[in-house]
Symmetry: C2
Subunit: 436 residues, 2 copies
Amino acid sequence: MNIILLSGGSGQRLWPLSNGVRSKQFIKIFQNEGGKPESMLTRVYRQIISADPEASVTVATSKKQVSSIINQLGDRVNICVEPCRRDTFPAICLAAAYLHDEQGVAEDSAVVICPVDPYVEDSYFEALKELGRMAEEGNADLSLLGIEPTYPSEKYGYIIPVSEDRVSRVNTFKEKPDAAAAEKYIAEGALWNGGVFAFRLGYLLQRAHELISFTDYRDLYARYADLEKISFDYAVAEREKEIQVLRYNGGWKDLGTWNTFAEAMEEPSLGRVILNETCENTNVVNELNIPILCMGCRNMVVAASSDGILVTDKEQSSYIKPFVEQMEQQVMYAEKSWGSFTVLDVQEDSLTIKIVLLPGHKLYYHSHDHRDEIWTVMSGRGRAVIDGAEQAVVPGDVISMPAGCRHMVSADTELKIIEVQLGENITVEDKHKYPL
Amino acid sequence: MNIILLSGGSGQRLWPLSNGVRSKQFIKIFQNEGGKPESMLTRVYRQIISADPEASVTVATSKKQVSSIINQLGDRVNICVEPCRRDTFPAICLAAAYLHDEQGVAEDSAVVICPVDPYVEDSYFEALKELGRMAEEGNADLSLLGIEPTYPSEKYGYIIPVSEDRVSRVNTFKEKPDAAAAEKYIAEGALWNGGVFAFRLGYLLQRAHELISFTDYRDLYARYADLEKISFDYAVAEREKEIQVLRYNGGWKDLGTWNTFAEAMEEPSLGRVILNETCENTNVVNELNIPILCMGCRNMVVAASSDGILVTDKEQSSYIKPFVEQMEQQVMYAEKSWGSFTVLDVQEDSLTIKIVLLPGHKLYYHSHDHRDEIWTVMSGRGRAVIDGAEQAVVPGDVISMPAGCRHMVSADTELKIIEVQLGENITVEDKHKYPL
């Protein structure tokens, strides 16, 4: 099976664990059978490989998620990077062109498109395999997975099939109806549209060329910024006559808000947390290294990270977005391809950061115009290059880099460094990179 | 008026804002009329001086509170330091001896004893003045302030007066009765015992010499560790025949738990806090520099400091103590006579701290046997002495101090320093002090 996982998300709804650089699919809130922490991404990948050990998985994503994907899955997946955000149709076209032109996938091969963040039973991926086979057989141009609704939700799109058979032609689509309409559709056999579909690669490329003028993957990549924002549903699904839907009635959850996200936690709390005996139906995730004590909390979610602290009634948690938007919070923690950084202290003219550099990784050679930096090595061993001169670094070493000084450091073993930045108006933009 | 403020408190009930080194009376949770933040201590001091500009205020306290008291009140108060904890009777005897032998207060002068943490109207201190006058007049050996009860509390001791007159002889005392008994006492005119009493200094010294063998203040101080732990109520009040009580019916709150403490907040929140419109009767205090977002919280208190995060139903908040006791949390923030320190990062073999040194203050000359330290100066100017050699320090300076190196730093302007400590088993005990 060729499967494309769409990995997007602005990360506001699960603040403070998600943020501008960390989307919800990377939060390690689950546990696998061995009790090891899992993110949505690693959980979905594990389930795919369990259903089809030969599956070829491509993650279609934006630049800023690449580091997190590599950190969590390494080179086990292909990554197709959108140069900028252009909604699902351009993203799927780019991924399709990537599979065809970069990975050599044949035009009559089936491709399954799936969001990266469904919280589902293993049987879901068996259904995806079947969907791929259905696409390959060619009885329809587009094959959708329809999720058996459990309540008349106003949040989802509905697929109205011709019949209630396990596999049926699609009659029409209904976008987010009100509860009464949803109830009526469900009585008539309607299914939720979970954004999963399969097609032959050649079919999608043909649609792509009809709507976008491009020659191949690299050409499409170069033109990407100029493409119109348009969803796959609107550009393809709603215009296509030859659509079939496969009914799926296993477990499926859309963990889009804290309320639903918390339901999927194996334990009521993660991290340093005490819940006293009067707490009920309360979930706490603590990424800070100070304890959280909860007493008498009912139906609540508490989440704490370097970015902030959320204390919310579960039902209210779905209204978080506008509040997070107004915060304009500096990113205090970020996972990077080379490790991570944590902002420890913010002053008017200085910023103190903890840098963790993974073995074999490095900070690239760079300088700053408007700030001095001082590294104090806490632990680990590595090598630094300062204005062209290489030196070994060990715990206790201090390196002062005035503005303009070119510097890099690489880690032989995991390297932990305290970096003090000194200057007025410290910004991430103040950086020049150099080859080394 | 000579007034002794008893400043004790282990700081568990208002965790995480109070801790082993910061008691609740130092938390700046109130506002004065000019909108400036006030602690219980500064509020009470301001109220005393407003009632009696000539009042001589002595704070009886333990060693670890001295820095906080000086930081908040400077040299406007006398401080009588208990060498160790020995309950209220020894503490009051020590303070009485201090007034007599160190401050030269005459034996026929009245002394008023008051806890440092009542949350009261200004009229309370007018009542204290009157209590002092009553003591001076000598109609009774002991004059108590009785607080008009507002409900049959099981938390307080009751004073049973002979009559319901404004000033009455005391019949007897009742310790923390159940609600039914309390109701009965109140119907008969009983008053809450708020721990406020006045006496002539000579009277108390006589009682002190009867129960404790000592010559003067310095002798009592030297013997202090050997004294029996005994409360003033038990040692004196319950045995004394000649007691009068002054009835006080103004505002009085015992802000001993988060529930009551929150009621006294001028605004629902302090610090970086967003409460959405569905929050009700919820108070939030945030001392961290990351935002707290509360949604749909009802009847709750949320408090965050470098020590931890509390999320509690208001009613449950009075049961906090055992949970805080089990935490054995490292102190992450402390106010010192010289400024403050904040623990920024804890690793196995290192600790990163932010030090703020106030102008004119210094860290004393010291060394460590088992850890290296590295200072990076973020802001301010001062002078350091490193192994006997003095040097100026300015922002960007780095000083490396291997184990054994003697070091100190003094601040000309407010000095902010990042200190990285490196070593195995870093402890506060690993410190040698030297004269300089």
